[in-house]
C-alpha cells in the first residue's frame, strides 16, 4: 500500500485540519514578526532597515502562500 488511505478519510481530514490550523497560527506569528521588526527598526536605525523589513515581509508572504496552497493540495 502506497499511502495511509487504509486509515480512512477521517484520519486525513483531521491531519489536514491540524495542518491548516497550524499554518493559520503561523501566519499570525509571521505578522507579529513583521510588526516587531518594524518596532525594532524604529528603536535602532543603522541604515539596514529596508532589507530587514523585506526579510520579515517575505517570511509573512511565504507563510500565507503555504496556507493558501495547502487548501488546494491537501
Amino acid at each position: 500500500m502506497n499511502n495511509l488511505n487504509f486509515l480512512g478519510d477521517t484520519f486525513l481530514l483531521v491531519t489536514k485540519s491540524g495542518i491548516i490550523f497550524f499554518l493559520f497560527i503561523y501566519l499570525v506569528f509571521a505578522v507579529v514578526v513583521v510588526r516587531q521588526v518594524k518596532l525594532m527598526t524604529e528603536t535602532l536605525k543603522v541604515g539596514f532597515e529596508t532589507p530587514i523589513k523585506t526579510l520579515a515581509l517575505v517570511h509573512a508572504i511565504a507563510s500565507l502562500f503555504v496556507l493558501v496552497i495547502s487548501f488546494f493540495i491537501l
Binding site: L4, T43, L44, V46, G47, S70
Partner: protein, 236 residues
C-alpha cells in the same frame, strides 16, 4: 601697521580668478555638491575600525546610527554587537535543517503519506527553518551596545517578542572589566566587557564583543573626559 595676518600666498583666489582658470568639471545635478573636509579625529586614537558596513560588529564613529530616546546633541562613538563567530552555531543548525528533507525518503512513514501532505510538510519545514534563521539573525543584529559621548546604551533583543533597553551615564560608570577566556576568544580577540554602574541597573554587560580592550580604553577616556567637563563646569 604691518599686516601680520597676511600670508605670502593666501590661496584665496577663487573670487577673482578668471573663468578660464576654473577646472572644467561637470557635476551631475543629483550629485551632492559638498567638498569633503578632513576633520581632525575627535580622539587621539587612530583606529582602523571605522566602517561603512551596517552589519559590522565593531564600528568606531559609525556613519549613521539613531536609537530611541537619543538626545539631539548626543554623538554615537561606538556601535558594537556580538562577534560574527557567535553566529556559527545557529548557521550550522540552519544548514542541517536545509539538508534534512533530502533524507526524508529514508523514513518509510513519510512515503506512506499522500504526495500533497508530503509537499506541505516539506514547505512547513522550510518555513520553520526560515523563521529560526530570521529570529537568530534579528537577535544578533538588534542586540547592540552603543557608546555615546554621554552614556552607554544596551539594546537587547532577547527574542521576537521581548526586547530590553538599558542605559547608564558615562559618569555613573564605576568599574570596567574585560573578560577574554577560551582558545577561540583569545585567538579571534573577542570577549565580554562588564561595566559596573551607579545607575539603577548595577551591571551592563557587552557580551562577545570584538576588541574588548579597545572598548575599555574608549570608556576610560570618555570617563576622564566627563570628569574634565565636570571640573570645567561644561556638563550638559
Amino acid at each position: 601697521m604691518p599686516d601680520i595676518f597676511k600670508s605670502k600666498d593666501s590661496g584665496v583666489r577663487s573670487l577673482k580668478a578668471p573663468i578660464s582658470e576654473k577646472p572644467n568639471i561637470k557635476i551631475h545635478k543629483n550629485a551632492v555638491q559638498e567638498i569633503p573636509v578632513q576633520l581632525p579625529h575627535p580622539h587621539g586614537h587612530n583606529f582602523k575600525d571605522h566602517t561603512h558596513n551596517p552589519l559590522a560588529s565593531f564600528c568606531y564613529y559609525p556613519d549613521y546610527v539613531q536609537f530611541i530616546n537619543e538626545d539631539p546633541e548626543e554623538k554615537v562613538i561606538l556601535l558594537i554587537r556580538r562577534h560574527p563567530v557567535s553566529n556559527l552555531g545557529w548557521l550550522f543548525l540552519v544548514f542541517l535543517m536545509i539538508l534534512a528533507p533530502a533524507f526524508l525518503p529514508l523514513f518509510s512513514f513519510f512515503d506512506l503519506l499522500p504526495l500533497g501532505f508530503q509537499s506541505v510538510l516539506v514547505m512547513i519545514w522550510y518555513l520553520i527553518t526560515f523563521a529560526i534563521a530570521l529570529e537568530k539573525f534579528l537577535t544578533w543584529f538588534f542586540h547592540v551596545n552603543i557608546v555615546t559621548d554621554e552614556r552607554i546604551v544596551e539594546v537587547d533583543f532577547v527574542n521576537l517578542f521581548y526586547r530590553e533597553i538599558t542605559d547608564a551615564n558615562i559618569d555613573q560608570i564605576q568599574d570596567v572589566t574585560v573578560e577574554v577566556g577560551g582558545a577561540i576568544r583569545t585567538y579571534l580577540h573577542y570577549g565580554d566587557v562588564v561595566i559596573q554602574t551607579a545607575a539603577e541597573v548595577p551591571k551592563i554587560e557587552f557580551e562577545d564583543v570584538p576588541n574588548p580592550d579597545k572598548v575599555a580604553k574608549i570608556l576610560r577616556e570618555l570617563r576622564l573626559e566627563e570628569e574634565q567637563e565636570k571640573l570645567e563646569g561644561r556638563v550638559r
